[in-house]
Symmetry: C2
Subunit: 224 residues, 2 copies
DNA sequence: ACAAAAGTGTTAAGAATACACCCATGT
DNA sequence: ACATGGGTGTATTCTTAACACTTTTGT
């Protein structure tokens, strides 16, 4: 087999989520070439021999969108798609990662791909099957935040309970009851109260909490 | 980039589970070449251009172990490993699948790889990081059976409640309470009672139930 | 008769849900 | 003073967990 073996093309793609204005956004670029020239797509590219998929992903993200890997608070492999007609010339296998970040500003003019975050609720038609990939990633994220502390990836180290609740609501796609949410979150021991208060408007200041962990931990209880 | 692009080697590997004698077993082969010559390993091989990973997997399974794809009651992608030194000559990326089957007899003499099912509890040292892959697959399976009907993949269409309980126990790795188990399983509406009884020994015959679905369905309740 | 697995309910504890008002601040 | 989001408790329902004896069969 090896003598006649020729490998398919290997690519990597990234679904990078960020909360902007309490809405879940995803990082997209404009395709500069056929196929789907001019359409929006997930950032991605070729994975050459000798480079791991994660390292290729980080390199490509930086070059196409200016997003540095140290801005990603969480990155994990999502799924490998092998039926994508990414390149009309032949078979391509794409390893897709999902990443979370916060407070990242992307300047579209940085590259010809004009990277930008766009709200999930207002996406135009995307290239390839990238809409389906984003849907899948969102499903995975929603499931992930309900049995891990993954939500920290979308938030600063210090949060108010309302900020946290907004983040869960954006990911899960539905409203949560304030009192029940607080009871459960505090019971999970995810957060440590500080003595500081956030004063961000014409209302009572909110107590600030600290995430106990900034790395992925699995819990046995659920948020849904 | 494309002009100088050379793809890594792409491989596929399979973690195939089956219950034998109420124990979870995994399909292994003996490596006939270096590296790890003589050690047991997951069945796998090269994925050439033009073939999807699933189709390559099915082809390789058949050729190396004699297991036909129509014996797999469930097969799904598990994870893509890209740091495996599968081939000492260079970078290899391996897409790993997990599959479930039942009542499959493998004849080791069928190929020089001497395929066989072995109980998870008694595995020798395996080639590469295949032990870690199996651990990961088992974890995924345990999680899967607790929120889907995936357990059907390990059992015949018709089962008794005790058989079903044994299967859950083998996958989850711990005992379940008989009365609570029955209440919950029947509440899930996974099964349909028949009017037949199984008489397989010196004891009261057990009512036989039928799986309502032989395809993966997600439930909202949990077995744990 | 006995061994072996099948079958069957109740109670208690814990978890989830529904729900409405006062508090502290900025303007 | 009013608008805005922050903060708090209870009662009810539902879910889970713990637990032991009788039934039916083959030998």
């Amino acid at each position: 087999m090896e003598y006649s073996y020729e490998a398919p093309v290997l690519t990597v793609d990234a679904v990078i989520f960020q909360l902007i204005d309490h809405q879940l956004n995803v990082l997209l670029i404009k395709r500069s070439r056929e196929p789907f020239k001019g359409d929006l797509a997930l950032p991605g590219g070729y994975n050459p021999k000798g480079e791991t998929t994660l390292s290729a992903l980080e390199r490509i993200l930086l070059s196409k969108t200016g997003l540095n890997k140290n801005k990603l608070k969480l990155i994990e492999q999502l799924y490998t798609f092998d039926t994508i007609a990414r390149d009309p010339r032949g078979h391509a296998v794409s390893v897709v990662y999902m990443g979370l970040c916060r407070n990242v500003k992307i300047t579209p003019s940085i590259t010809k791909e004009q990277p930008r975050f766009m709200p999930l609720s207002k996406l135009p038609n995307l290239a390839f099957d990238h809409q389906a990939i984003i849907d899948y990633a969102l499903e995975r994220l929603a499931s992930k935040v309900s049995y891990t502390n993954a939500i920290f990836g979308l938030l600063p180290k210090e949060v108010t309970l309302t900020q946290l609740q907004r983040a869960y609501e954006a990911v899960l796609g539905h409203k949560l009851d304030k009192r029940n949410f607080r009871k459960r979150i505090l019971a999970l021991d995810l957060l440590k109260p500080t003595t500081k208060y956030s004063t961000d408007g014409a209302h009572r200041p909110a107590l600030i909490y600290l995430f106990r962990k900034q790395s992925l931990e699995t819990s046995n209880k659920l948020i849904d």
